[in-house]
């Protein structure tokens, strides 16, 4: 808040005085891990996410039911031994489809995060190093992008560009590239602002000034001195961006404009299950819970990383 000075130090006091001395003999990574472990839910979440990733990558090798084996004698069945997660309206095995869908959802999440991080870091760094007009212009564009209605634009972009990209890159590849680019391309703004804010404060710090005085070039300043110190908050933001991208992809598929029906991403499964909610609730509950668990565990991990990577916080 502008004009207010936090005077009496109390809970959560922030400032150099409160800096926690790193436990002796620990490298920064080991110290971060020590702090991360204090966040119990984050550790649990790391385990849950690990299980999800493991199931998605190794699961299909163990559970060898094909995702598109149609069996009309086993339509809309609830969980049983033959089909641990039940079946859908075509009698296809939901467990196999869940594992396949998870691979897509997680891949989209990570890839879209990478796009957002690369674009956001680049723009934030440029804006943070340049001052004056360029900075103002870049920030104006960023703010404008922030005011764009995300979901309608996502829908519009995917609707308009899907046919062309599918012709170029194939049915699945086209939609994957499109979804990743569009989600990443509309989510870089928070990261750009974060990186810029970090740069603005870091570039005035003494150690940067010292490096500058020793004749370090601007590029070296950024790469060797400023960037490593700006990484902490960026990593936290990037983690949460994965969760956001997973939700965005599921939303698109849920609205029927994401992946085609033969690619059972979690959102697509929910979309297909809607009409059978009354007779086959398990069909909606399994993919929905999968999205929820993945997103929740990633968000908790981000929360834990925030504690772990903020050296000002005493834990």
């Amino acid at each position: 808040m502008s004009g207010s000075i936090p005077a009496s130090p109390s809970v959560e006091a922030i400032g150099p005085a409160a800096a926690a001395p790193r436990a002796a003999g620990l490298s920064p990574t080991a110290d971060a891990w020590r702090r991360f472990r204090k966040h119990r839910l984050a550790v649990v979440s790391l385990f849950v996410l690990g299980v999800i990733v493991f199931a998605v990558l190794i699961g299909p090798l163990i559970w060898r039911v094909p995702i598109d084996a149609i069996d009309f004698s086993a339509m809309l069945q609830g969980p049983s031994l033959a089909h641990p997660c039940g079946t859908d309206a075509l009698g296809q095995d939901l467990l196999a489809r869940l594992m396949y869908g998870g691979k897509i959802s997680l891949a989209v999440g990570v890839a879209a995060m990478l796009v957002a991080v690369i674009v956001g870091t680049l723009i934030g760094a440029i804006s943070g190093m340049a001052s004056g007009r360029l900075d103002a212009a870049v920030m104006w564009v960023t703010d404008m992008f922030l005011a764009l209605p995300q979901l309608p634009l996502l829908l519009l972009l995917i609707y308009l560009f899907r046919p062309a990209l599918q012709r170029m890159l194939g049915e699945q590849g086209g939609i994957f590239v499109l979804i990743v680019t569009v989600i990443g391309g509309l989510r870089w703004m928070p990261l750009a602002r974060l990186i810029r804010a970090q740069f603005l404060s870091l570039r005035e710090k003494e150690f940067v000034e010292a490096a500058r005085a020793l004749g370090a070039s601007k590029l070296r300043l950024v790469i060797r001195h400023i960037m490593p110190n700006a990484m902490g908050p960026a990593i936290v933001a990037a983690t949460i961006e994965v969760a956001n991208a997973i939700i965005a992809e599921s939303t698109l598929s849920f609205l029927g404009v994401g992946f085609p029906p033969d690619v059972p991403s979690w959102g697509r499964m929910l979309y297909d299950s809607q009409d059978y909610l009354q007779i086959a609730p398990h069909w909606a509950l399994f993919p929905g819970s999968a999205i929820f668990l993945a997103v929740l565990s990633i968000n908790f991990i981000g929360d834990g990383l925030r504690d772990a990577l903020d050296p000002r916080r005493v834990i």
């Binding site: 502008s2 000075i5 009496s8 109390s10 979901l151 959102g267």
Partner: protein, 320 residues
């Protein structure tokens, strides 16, 4: 608030809107595919007719000229006609906009009613069990995708318990209290889905904003004067701590509109969100463009409102 500031802030919103319209138009112009659509590929339409059509519609003009035409038409309220329903786009939107705004408004009120008390209580005793529960529940609520909560609510309250209808009825045949009762019953689930999602993401912000204020000197002074804890909290802390929340709500608007679109779609609420999805699935580009632009305008306008409210609430902000 000085009148010149008000005027200037309103004028500043215009370049933003223009820029958004440029982005929208560029996307449309860059998109592959012929705007004439089927006519361009139909062999029964002779090339001469096609050329004449193109010339008449101005499709061969340079892009900036087409953009200006489009902008002028939009500004004059001529939003074209829907491909599917043969109705004017502006009428379609005007019919449905009130429903969407009512849904958005009530769920926003619900969100604030949930988030503020919880956030304040969490900030009063930081790191207490209450604070930890509020934090955890907030994170859970905000990790639950709205489409999933919507489906689960339908499953529990419509399918299993049969308390609420799961398809929204737009023409309720009742008057007086009965009408209100039916409206209440059918709106409660969509409002709850959006309101709780938004409330969950607000709790943390309210908490940290309150914590910023609680440790200020003037709060200590108030306490040391012997004012009761409750009174200090309500009169001194909450009133100031809530000011930044106004901005936060404004910043989250694009996300909230996303949630309302999904919720309208799930519960078949006849608002502009479900109109958008229906139009996309039916290849109805004029409606899609118009609805997207309406959402963009709403974001810009509400942001403007939040800015003005902020200045009004916090006189420390210097007006230049």
């Amino acid at each position: 608030m000085s009148r010149s500031y008000l005027l200037r802030r309103v004028l500043l919103a215009i370049p933003g809107l223009l820029a958004i319209s440029v982005i929208l138009y560029t996307i449309l112009a860059l998109a592959p595919g012929d705007p004439l659509g089927e006519i361009a590929t139909n062999p029964n339409v002779p090339p001469a007719v096609q050329l004449a059509l193109r010339a008449k519609l101005g499709l061969d003009d340079p892009i900036w000229q087409r953009y200006l035409h489009w902008l002028v038409a939009m500004a004059q309220g001529d939003w074209g006609f829907s491909f599917t329903s043969q109705e004017s786009v502006s009428r379609l939107i005007m019919q449905r906009l009130p429903v969407s705004l009512a849904l958005f408004g009530t769920s926003e009120v619900l969100a604030v009613l949930v988030a503020v008390p919880v956030g304040v209580l969490a900030a009063v005793r930081p790191y207490s069990w209450l604070d930890q529960i509020a934090n955890t529940v907030g994170l859970i609520g905000f990790s639950l995708p709205t489409f999933f909560t919507g489906l689960v609510l339908i499953l529990v309250f419509s399918v299993k318990l049969n308390w609420f209808p799961f398809v929204f009825e737009s023409n309720v045949q009742a008057t007086g209290l009965a009408w209100w009762w039916i409206e209440f019953k059918q709106s409660i689930m969509p409002i709850a889905v959006i309101g709780l999602f938004q409330g969950a993401s607000l709790v943390r912000y309210v908490r940290s904003s309150m914590l910023d204020v609680i440790r200020l000197d003037y709060v200590t002074t108030a306490r040391s004067k012997g004012i009761g804890a409750r009174r200090v909290l309500m009169r001194h802390v909450v009133r100031n701590g809530l000011i930044p929340v106004v901005t936060l709500v404004a910043v989250q608007l694009p996300q909230i509109f996303g949630a309302t679109i999904i919720t309208e779609q799930i519960f078949r609420v006849p608002g502009i969100g479900s109109l958008l999805i229906a139009s996309i699935l039916a290849d109805d580009i004029p409606v899609v463009m118009a609805v997207t632009f309406v959402y963009a305008c709403l974001v810009v306008l509400l942001n403007l409102l939040a800015d003005l409210l902020y200045v009004w609430l916090d006189p420390r902000i210097a007006l230049r």
